[in-house]
Amino acid sequence: MTVNDQLGNVSYLGFQAALAGYIAALVCFGIEFASSRGSIPTAAEAVSLQLRAASRGRTDVIDRKISAAGEDDSRIGQIVQPQRTARPPMGTLFGRAGLIVVTIGFGAQVFSIVTRGIAAGRAPWGNMYEFTSMICAAAVAGFLIVFYRTRSHSLGFFVMIPIVILMFVGGTKLYVQVESLVPALHSYWLLIHVLAVSLSTGVLMVAGVASVMYLLRSRYERRLLAEQAWAVEPGHQLVAADNADGEFAGQASGATTSRLASLPSLAALDRVAYRATIVAFPVYTFAVIAGAMWAEVAWGRYWGWDPKETCAFVSWVFYAAYLHARATAGWRGTRAAWISVLGFVSVLFNLFVINIVVSGLHSYAGLN
């Protein structure tokens, strides 16, 4: 198998362009997110908050439509008054720009992956650099799909953070020239197993980020609730002067001016994390099974508790626990989100620490 170094360099240019695009997108989404400081809590947030107040200790959430004006049909829309149109247009513009550059970057990355595959004459996921690139591409694709469905800009900012870090590490520390593969990787299972692993890892990254956002958001709402409780206490009538009926007078307080106010509602974040997980989890399960089948062909047994296998099993158990927790009273919401985050941490740990630090059968992944 001959490799084409020139085309490999072209591919790397594509990778760098993608990284540049993602960094630009991170900055744009970041500016958009930062400019949301001081904006008014959204309708979804108001509902989410109200529900938490009604059912303390639980995190059951629902989406409920509030009439746009929030006038008289119920009290839940009270802190809504001006709609999100009040947000400064600059932030919105940056949000759009971010979306454009992230799409261009994604295109550049797909180009980079394809040309790398042609240059090497094999599946372009044979070492850590290529694998990292695939994961990031899958995560960006996942984000774009979620964005298309939910229009959540703030997700863009949070998703781009790990993607940019991974891309940077992949493009510098992990980068290797196009090369043919060692005989251990000459197998069609490379195509199947690694493709499934990288796609599912990318989508699980979106799920993990959504769960982190869920945790931030739920902490923020707890603070908001605490302030609300404080405001309606009898001793603080001055603050709550014209809110005798228990409405929230938080307009001026720190919590409402937090940037976190522009995060999607808990229900929306929970749904993003859950949907991403139920897409990725079967693929990940398939990847583990395919890995076992490959191990049966390559190493003489389908499962041998090699560090990589053990860690893959741990991640699988975490995600299984997440799916069960989300359907169990008392574990939904924050706890389930924590499990999802743990699951993703274990996936990342498996990807980097096990391949690079711990010696095992997967240690050939391109660094030594």
Partner: protein
């Protein structure tokens, strides 16, 4: 999103337990039954509750971690032993607690056995419930359909029976039940998505099956590995007839090695190819083998053994796992007698600088005590592409282009009869320390070159052979493991993708006087039916019916809304005239 997830509501709606596994535990009253029975029953309930299962899942993940982070006896014996040595009493304590054999330790077994017991305790009642649900007819139409998360009210043309027929034909694949209420209204209850629970049960039973398949493999399977020089005549093969032919034999718990299914293998050649940069590009070993009836007729089949491509013989698998070099030395003793010896050397780096020892334990021409006084050991390095730099030999390329050895010769008692186990790659240094083994000359040799010892013995480096490490694996249950893995995946996917949902239709004669009666009735209705209420404002005729529709998705999945709109469309709402 217009709709609400039924299972997200903490109460009120007639949602079932869904995925929550066990319902809230009812208070158990002491007294009527004995305390012991109550205790057992409560323990069982605790164990089979979802909360316990979640905790056990966490414990399982946590307990697996040392298996990934600490060296394990089953994976790397020498590394584990070194780790324990390096960590003193901590190492010994961890070893005693089983941290270097996590997946065989009692505490790990305790966790997964409890988990699987909990699983069985949860699965059996669920299976029973499910059988009951399948046999049950779709439930009665709730009195107030407007309270369901999906709701619509539509006017339509035709008699109630016609409308009911229209709906029924549209509900293909749904389980249906027609009823007539006391008010005279026709109702249709329908539900769909039972495969979700089927998938759920299949997934969990597959886990059990997988555990059994793994256990059977551990009981009845075995692995045997050995190193063989390729293309070395009669010594370059083996017959798998008993465990002793293997350098290392790891039997299953119920395997005593007496009834291996025999097969024989001859390694004719081994060829490794490398790129110019020294990266391996292929390993191929040409072999001949015979098994079954061939053993009696002495016929052989030929094949190539490659990495990622094992030979499968009668349920057993033969793998090519590694390779290396075996330097060959010829010793010419003072009496003129010669002896040739070789031994596999252990690769130390990617360029196959290899280390090892060739032992001559039976020098010709000596008897009695003299034999042990004249044993020889050639200890040293072999480099396929030798480069001597600063007196140290290393290899610069993995292929044997300019082979060389750097050797140190010992003579004396190698200590083979002391009963102590010896590494094949090294000598027993205690024998050197206590003076029974003498350290003699050292030399760097190219092929054909020789060195002389003080007593006139000549040692010639005559060449090298390539060795391959092979492994025979046998696992009678691995096919079953695959079957269960596939059913696990299929079950998982159907339990995540399929939605369990219900829909009810109540068909009543339109109240001719009512023009805009119902839109105001439910202020908190989802906006999805606003277009429907527009329809409702049309003038009602005598042959109009009012169809109320309610829908309930009984699973986590949102996204029932789209399907519900299609279900509503089945009614065929009357066009505004």
């Amino acid at each position: 999103m217009v709709t609400r997830d039924a299972t997200h509501l903490s109460g009120g709606l007639p949602a079932d337990g869904g995925d929550s596994g066990s319902a809230v535990e009812p208070q158990f009253r002491q007294g009527r039954l004995g305390g012991a029975v109550a205790f057992l029953r409560n323990t069982w309930r605790q164990l089979t509750s979802m909360r316990t299962a979640l905790v056990l899942l966490f414990l399982l993940a946590l307990a697996s971690l040392p298996g990934a982070l600490l060296p394990q006896w089953s994976l790397n014996t020498s590394k584990t032993a070194q780790y324990i040595l390096d960590h003193g009493s901590w190492g010994l304590l961890l070893n005693r607690l089983g941290f270097f054999e996590v997946f065989g330790s009692p505490w790990y077994a305790a966790i997964y056995l409890l988990l699987f017991t909990s699983l069985v305790g949860c699965l059996l009642p669920r299976t029973w419930d499910f059988v009951g649900q399948i046999r049950m007819k779709p439930v009665n139409t709730p009195r107030n359909l407007a309270r369901l998360p999906h709701h619509a009210s539509v006017r339509s043309v035709g008699s109630p029976d016609e409308v009911a027929d229209r709906i029924t034909t549209g509900l293909r694949g749904w389980r249906l039940e027609h009823r007539v209420e006391s008010s005279g209204a026709l109702t249709i209850s329908a539900e769909k998505g039972f495969l979700r629970e089927v998938g759920n049960l299949v997934f969990h039973f597959s886990l059990l099956g997988l555990l059994v398949a793994i256990a059977v493999g551990k009981l009845f399977g075995f692995e045997g590995s050995l190193i063989v020089n390729a293309g070395d005549g009669s010594s370059s093969g083996f017959c798998s007839v008993s465990p002793v032919v293997y350098d290392n034999f790891r039997p299953g718990l119920l395997v005593d090695g007496t009834d291996l299914r025999p097969f024989c293998v001859d390694i004719d050649s081994f060829k490794a190819s490398y790129t110019a940069a020294g990266q391996a590009s292929s390993f191929v070993s040409a072999i001949r083998y015979q098994a079954g009836a061939q053993l009696n007729t002495d016929t052989w089949s030929s094949t190539n053994l490659e990495v990622n491509d094992p030979l499968r013989i009668q349920g057993q698998r033969l793998y090519l796992l590694g390779h290396g070099y075996s330097p060959v030395f010829t010793v010419t003793y003072p009496g003129g007698k010669t002896q040739t010896g070789t031994a596999p050397f252990q690769p130390q780096d990617a360029n196959f600088t290899s280390q090892g020892t060739v032992k001559f334990t039976d020098p010709p021409g000596y008897v009695g005590e003299q034999v042990r006084a004249h044993q020889l050991a050639i200890v040293g390095l072999f480099a396929p592409s030798a480069l001597i730099h600063g007196g140290i030999m290393t290899s610069t390329f993995p292929a044997a282009e300019t082979p060389g050895v750097a050797i140190q010769v010992y003579r004396g008692d190698l200590g083979m009869e002391t009963g102590k186990a010896q590494s094949i790659f090294d000598i027993d240094t205690d024998q050197v320390a206590n003076g029974k083994l003498l350290k003699l000359n050292r030399a760097n040799l190219a092929p054909g070159e020789s060195m002389k010892l003080d007593d006139g013995t000549k040692i010639t480096f005559t060449g090298y052979k390539e060795w391959v490490s092979l492994q025979t694996s046998y696992d009678p249950a691995q096919g079953w493991a695959l079957v269960f893995a596939v059913s696990l995946l299929v079950g998982l996917m159907s339990s995540l993708i399929i939605k369990r949902r219900r829909v009810w239709f109540r068909i009543g004669i339109a109240d001719s006087g009512a023009r805009t009666a119902e839109p105001a009735a439910e202020p908190a209705r989802p906006e999805g039916d606003s277009r429907v209420s527009g329809v409702a404002r049309t003038v009602a005729n005598e042959d109009h019916v009012v169809v109320e529709v309610g829908g309930l998705a009984r699973t986590d999945q949102a996204g029932y809304g789209d399907e519900f709109s299609k279900l509503v469309a089945l009614i065929g709402a009357s066009e505004p005239r």
